[in-house]
Symmetry: C2
Subunit: 217 residues, 2 copies
DNA sequence: GTCTATACTTGGATAGAC
DNA sequence: GTCTATCCAAGTATAGAC
């Protein structure tokens, strides 16, 4: 709401009024990117969703573009943390795919990947934005590569295809699946693929590990 | 240029002045979508590139959105024809991947998939546009499914994963690879993947067909 | 830090001359 | 069919009051 009252703990507590507004603006930007797309995410639309005045966008972030990037930073940080936690829980390829599916559905529901997709697509329209977005997408690829490396370490696939190449493909596929699912409001196609991947992963796991079921490490 | 002179064969030849202008506008729209993105593709920007007046966008297409869709139709028709020809030439999975790679580079150079990506991303910002875009993307999936079916018909993969599911993934991957390549102006990641896919395809082909090299059908 | 008001620009769309 | 001129809405950004 960003009104004036509601004084904090006075000693500049964990979140000042200013920080509160910044946060509200970032959250509103994520929301707007997801629901209105890049070109629909104007300073006025953001402020409306944040429940504050349009001028605050410029006071706090200077330009709309900066706020868009702050939103992308927020999403990136939020999701990479979540992805890491999810991957840490997975013990084999099958579990990794299973985990990826839950996370994918979260992303779809919350529109996080929409934010990414809108920023990538929107980057063409603003000089210099492409590089900024690219530098924020890079960690996603690094994360995916690390995850691939860890999970495929002692399987024959590590020799067949390098983790970096596979990671590039995984990120691209994830992005593409999100866009298609969002486009026709139907995640069925993507979910069927995850299901199939899980099944194939189980099959491959059984083959490469031999008849032994677990604890062979 | 869309000026008045240059009379045609008088009997309403293969392209009247009107048709010429429509074509110029569509071509300019494709160009603009690729270079300026969805939000940068305004009636004025399009007219500037077409070398004609801004009002003609509305005279010929009613709204900018209609012109955008006409551009998407053009790209879709152009590329599906090309894809079909390419697939018809391929005799096995390896050749199919090889063909897909050339076509992918064409798409990247000409920006055709950028047009698709921008329209998908931009659809969020205009009510009703999503459905229009979706109906124009559907043929791509159908095409991919048919291509998969034909190529995998007598391999064990046909049993392992249905053509429709695979097709959905292929389209998503293609779209995602294009967006990433366009974002950081580097197609290396995508090309490495194609290269790897070709290699794996060769390996799988050899396995599933046995030691025989060709003409086993 | 936040709000109101406003200057300036760009874009969608139409009217009317040619 | 095409162009010029114009209206109106929406967007970015800034100034100044509170």
């Amino acid at each position: 709401m960003a009104r004036s009252g509601a004084k904090r703990t006075a000693g500049q507590g964990p979140s000042t009024g200013s920080e509160e507004t910044r946060r509200a603006l970032v959250a509103a930007t994520i929301e707007a990117l997801r629901e209105e797309g890049f070109s629909g995410t104007s300073a006025r639309e953001i402020a409306r969703r944040a429940g504050c005045n349009q001028g605050l966008v410029f006071y706090h972030f200077g330009t709309v573009t900066n706020l868009l990037l702050a939103a992308l930073d927020e999403v990136s940080s939020l999701r990479l943390t979540r992805y890491q936690a999810a991957v840490d829980e997975a013990n084999d390829l099958g579990e990794l795919v299973q985990t990826a599916q839950s996370v994918f559905e979260e992303d779809l529901d919350a529109g996080y990947i929409s934010v990414l997709a809108e920023m990538i697509a929107g980057a063409s329209s603003t000089p210099g934005l492409g590089a900024e977005v690219a530098s924020r997408v890079a960690p996603w690829r690094i994360f995916a590569a690390d995850a691939m490396r860890d999970t495929l370490a002692d399987t024959p696939f590590a020799q067949l295809i390098p983790a970096e190449e596979l990671a590039h493909g995984i990120v691209a596929l994830y992005l593409g699946l999100e866009m298609l699912a969002h486009l026709d409001g139907d995640r069925g196609g993507a979910l069927a693929l995850f299901e199939r991947a899980r099944q194939v992963a189980g099959l491959l796991g059984a083959l490469s590990a031999g008849p032994a079921t677990k604890e062979e490490r």
